[in-house]
């Protein structure tokens, strides 16, 4: 288990002290995929680096499997780090080494005997699907392949934790999907705890079990990914989720505003449901039953780790009373509703 207790990180600048992290408490279970989402400057990068001691907290405690990382001696900390893998947005491979040699690097540092090193590196190359590219240099690889080398390198010394620093932010959507797939795969296969930071909600949705939303050095919302997506509390969380469902595309916003102007008595709502929870044609039923018209504006279904998440933007028109009743009924179908005021 990884625990952060009452963490504060303060950077002194000439003008003032800046709190990069402000009283952060997080507990991450073994084998879990834990995501931290936030805009740049929210403090997530500093937070991640506390977990392998690249950053030290100003106050508070960082503990990993019961050991307090922030009080370890330098040499002990180095030893500890060999059991914590890390991958990066820009991969950070050594250009002067081939794929194989890059993966050998952490093994050299851990003083693994030479014969074993090569065997282990080849194993890892197979694991990440880079057979045949052993002798290539990083400059000859695509972004996705580079990140695979990064992952293999991070796994070399059988770590218990893998830290991912915006690991897919420099990749195109298809490659992102592949890399996330690989991460989920090794999480299951090796029972590896994964902690990742990102600004893309899609990454959280696809592979995380739990999520923490950060803003201004604080964790403002935390919970099971499924729950947070269905029922976000904070405005910033809602922003991230909307960004993921493409609702903020120009077209949709224009349409939402137009409809709100045209039918001021109607209500625009976002309905969120889990695929396996909705088995009945609720829209036509509700429309009949309560004498309301339901206009579908935009809909999407997205994959998450173990289920799919549907979201539907609708406009409901009719008398105020019947709209209210209809909304109540929708809730009874286990569908979350967020009424959006676009007027």
């Amino acid at each position: 288990m990884i625990e952060l207790k009452e963490i504060k990180k303060i950077y002194k600048t000439k003008q003032a002290d800046v709190a990069a992290l402000d009283n952060v408490n997080i507990a991450i279970q073994d084998g879990e995929v834990y995501g931290i989402v936030g805009y740049s400057g929210a403090g997530k990068s500093t937070l991640l680096r506390l977990l392998n001691g690249l950053e030290k907290p100003t106050s508070g405690e960082v503990s990993l499997a019961g050991k307090a990382l922030n009080t370890l001696k330098k040499s002990t900390l180095r030893k500890e780090r060999q059991k914590i893998g890390m991958i990066f947005q820009h991969f950070n491979l050594l250009w002067s080494r081939t794929v194989l040699e890059n993966i050998l690097f952490p093994l050299e540092i851990a003083r693994v005997p030479k014969a074993k090193r090569k065997q282990r590196a080849l194993e890892l190359i197979r694991l990440v699907g880079l057979e045949g590219r052993e002798q290539a240099y990083p400059s000859e690889l695509s972004g996705g392949q580079k990140q695979r080398v990064g992952i293999a390198r991070a796994l070399a010394n059988d770590p218990t934790v893998l830290l991912c620093d915006e690991a897919t932010s420099a990749l195109d959507p298809k490659t992102t999907e592949d890399v996330l797939e690989l991460l989920l795969d090794i999480n299951k296969k090796l029972n590896l705890t994964i902690v990742l930071i990102t600004h893309e909600m899609q990454v959280i949705r696809r592979i995380c079990d739990r999520v923490a939303v950060m803003s201004d050095g604080k964790v403002v919302e935390e919970g099971q990914v499924k729950e947070v997506f269905k029922n976000p509390r904070e405005t910033i969380t809602k922003q991230f989720i909307r960004q993921d469902t493409n609702i903020d595309s120009e077209d949709t916003i224009t349409i939402l505003h137009e409809l709100a102007r045209k039918y001021p008595e109607g209500k625009v709502a976002r309905l969120v449901f889990l695929e396996d929870q909705v088995r009945s044609p609720f829209i036509s039923r509700i429309s009949r039953e309560y004498d309301v018209d339901i206009n579908i504006i935009q809909g999407s279904v997205q994959e998450s780790q173990d289920t799919s998440l549907g979201s539907l933007y609708v406009q409901i028109t009719g008398s105020t009373e019947s709209i209210e009743q209809a909304l109540q009924k929708i809730k009874a179908y286990h569908i979350e509703i967020e009424v959006i005021d676009y007027a």
Binding site: L54, R81, F88, N92, L94, S96
Partner: protein, 233 residues
């Protein structure tokens, strides 16, 4: 005498090949090569150390680091500012005490080393600073020690730039060695000045010059070739 005629005579004075003694040319070339490469080895080692000190202490918190950086920078700047011809004269008593002589190729070495090591040290510092911060962070995250980061990351990742730097340094060392030659260190500079100019044997000066140019060309080409070979970026 008409001006054109005198020009023709001057040009002819550069082609009296019988003035050149091949055996002397050979020994002088060897002397120049000896001065250049003997000092180059020392410059390489000292420059790497200086560069590393500058790189590691630059922009560090802590009084000790700041003091080391300040002193090293001061030394580097002082020795880089002294014109070579003055440095060599300045060092004569020191050289004499150290080597019991002030002539011959070995006597040229202290001044050559002292002037080129700070120069190369600065180049090394810049090369190290150009190494991707992220790669160093990755090595730290793997638990690499400072020494491992230097030997396994910093030096290999900046190798092309370190080699370009040592090529430039070697070429300026050849230039310096020619000046040292005039003071009495021997080599092609000595040959061009004493044998050539002072005895009005222009051909000797020309041949010494061409030999130096050839050495520089070969050095530059070798340096470029190695850089191209190892740079996999």
């Amino acid at each position: 005498m008409r001006k054109e005629e005198s020009f023709i005579e001057i040009i002819q004075s550069y082609t009296n090949w019988e003035e050149v003694e091949p055996a002397k040319l050979w020994t002088n070339t060897l002397d120049t090569l000896y001065m250049t490469f003997a000092s180059l080895v020392a410059v390489l080692i000292l420059g790497l150390i200086l560069g590393l000190i500058l790189y590691e202490t630059n922009k560090r918190e802590g009084k000790v680091a700041k003091a080391i950086y300040y002193i090293t920078t001061l030394l580097v700047n002082v020795f880089r500012s002294i014109p070579f011809i003055i440095l060599i004269v300045l060092l004569i008593p020191f050289t004499r005490a150290l080597l019991d002589t002030m002539t011959g190729p070995t006597a040229g070495l202290p001044a050559l080393i002292l002037s080129a090591a700070p120069f190369y040290g600065r180049l090394v510092e810049t090369s190290f600073r150009d190494v991707d911060r992220g790669v160093i962070e990755a090595a730290e995250a793997m638990g690499a020690s400072k020494l491992e980061i230097i030997t396994k990351v910093l030096i290999p990742e900046s190798l092309p730039s370190l080699i370009s730097g040592i090529t430039v340094t070697a070429i300026s060392l050849i230039g310096f060695s020619a000046i040292a030659g005039i003071i009495g260190a021997g080599g092609l500079g000595n040959m061009a000045y004493l044998d050539g100019f002072q005895r009005s044997r222009n051909t000797v000066t020309l041949v010494a010059t061409v030999t130096i140019v050839a050495i520089v060309f070969v050095l530059q080409a070798t340096g470029d070739f190695i850089v191209k070979k190892i740079d996999k970026r």
